[in-house]
Amino acid sequence: MPLPFIPETITVHLGSPKSNARNVTVPFPDYIKNVASSEIYPTWPESAIRANMYAQISFALNRVYTEWYPSQGYDFDITNVTAFDQAYVHDRDIFDNISRIADELFTDYIVRSGSVEPLFAQYCNGTTVTCDGLSQWGTVPLAEQGLTPYEILTRFYGDDIEIVTDTPVVPNLGTYPGKALRLGDVNEDVRTIQLRLNRISTNYPLIPKIYPVNRAYDKSTENAVKVFQQTFGLTPDGIVGKATWYRIAYLYTAIKRLAELNSEGLSLQDVSPLYPGLLKFGDSGEAVKLMQYYLSVVGAYYSEIPVIDDDGFFGTKTQNAVIAAQKLFGLTPDGIVGEQTWNALYSAYLSIVDSDPNARTPEGIPVFPGRILIEGMSGDDVEQAQTFLSFLSSVYSEIPQIPVTGYFGEMTKDAVIAAQKLFGLNITGTIGPATWDILAREYETAVMGAKVAEQQFPGYTLQNNQEGM
């Protein structure tokens, strides 16, 4: 079996395993914050909170690592019934101190010495229920006596335990670089943070823009980090440690996903939304892709619907998402998209698209034009690619600045090669779907990140003769 990892999200069944309850899919740190807020009291000494949280994290990771429920044919990772698993109250209030600790601890878990499996860390309240494991109330006097979280855990689980730390989060989030980023640092990771914070600040304009985006962790960067931290319940120290890194990653991923769905929507806006006939497991094609697209948009608003790829193939993941949507709409959850399901899905999609509250959803970025662009070609698609490259060269000094002419000459080819090197693509000097896709995404992040809202601090001081933003 491979090594344990931290799942980016976890799917929780809101009832006992056999019950026909809904599932919700939530970010793993948010799951832990919820469990801790539901299982223990936030007024307890910090050492007791941490000890309990290690047990809660290990328990959940054990379920994920052993595939306990999926191996029995269920479509979830864990339940919220304490007789089977641990308490989880969907969308409840979360305590700020527990939130801060969870943001730090969620990549750490307990193991038996010599084993890789996350400990199946059983626990109980220790008063009305006793068990062979951690006593929740029992941790309080131990913490008051000054025991560390690890020492508290050994009292209940034995001496032969260890705590594994800084486990990678999989699949999409990237891994914390291992060293905190702070004022004075100059490197790639700083630029990543600058780009992501700028993109986040387009949706959260109280966070000031960082300008310039130049890999240098300056005052402008530190300021943006502090405001981000204040907004999202992190210690506002202006340093990007593990907790801040992952919180930025999660929020950036959510915002980016919405932007990408928006782009996809623009490319699909001429496609008829009429019911295309029955769609079921095993089918493939444009109609499946359209259905997946509607599901994805609705899923961005409802945690009941797990994330799927709009790849045009009706596989298990798509079927689970269809079942989740049917439960949400009160339809028979058979995983088959008949006319009723299609119409309910399309209707939910429409209500979301029409809701655009402040017209702040980003403009679409053009999709791959359908021909590979090579030196010697001309056209609007070449001009668009040059626009991407030209803007990106203002952010990435590795990419040379080029004029936007619509003709793919040698300068453009050099810029393409530089971009492919930078983003880890095959270095061909031509623009196929993969290169276009990366250029479009990076461009969207950078250009949307540069958009300054009314009253948002743009990151630089306006000169006397400059036009206001």
Binding site: Y41, P42, T43, R92, D96, N97, G126, L206, A254, I352
Partner: protein, 137 residues
Amino acid sequence: MSNQNTSTGYLVVSVSTARTAIPLENALVTVYSISDTGSSELIYNVRTNRSGQTAPLPLPAPPISNSLSPNQPFPYARYSVRVDYDGFYPVTSSDLTIFPDIVATLPVFLVPLEEFQNTGEPQVRNFPNHGLNTAKE
């Protein structure tokens, strides 16, 4: 009972749509106390800022000793919250658990109304009693 609540806890309500991707400014947030008789009293009527958040709202809470040993009655105070925003389903959440000197943040994720609707039935979230609260109130 409200005469137990001699300390103060804090509540922040954080309102967004698309589950944190889009914060909602000027959402109307109403906070109610919940009494044992089931009656509720309006305590706050506030709006969210540009990040979709209210300021931390002070709320009466029991003394901290009520939650530091088992079998104490009233370890926390209970409140409910309603959020309204034009074009979205309203949401009511109860019971929230407020502890002394602790800030609790309630994340409220709104979903849009159907295209033909102007108002909709509030989506109701009922949170159960805390599992550790085994004392009879």
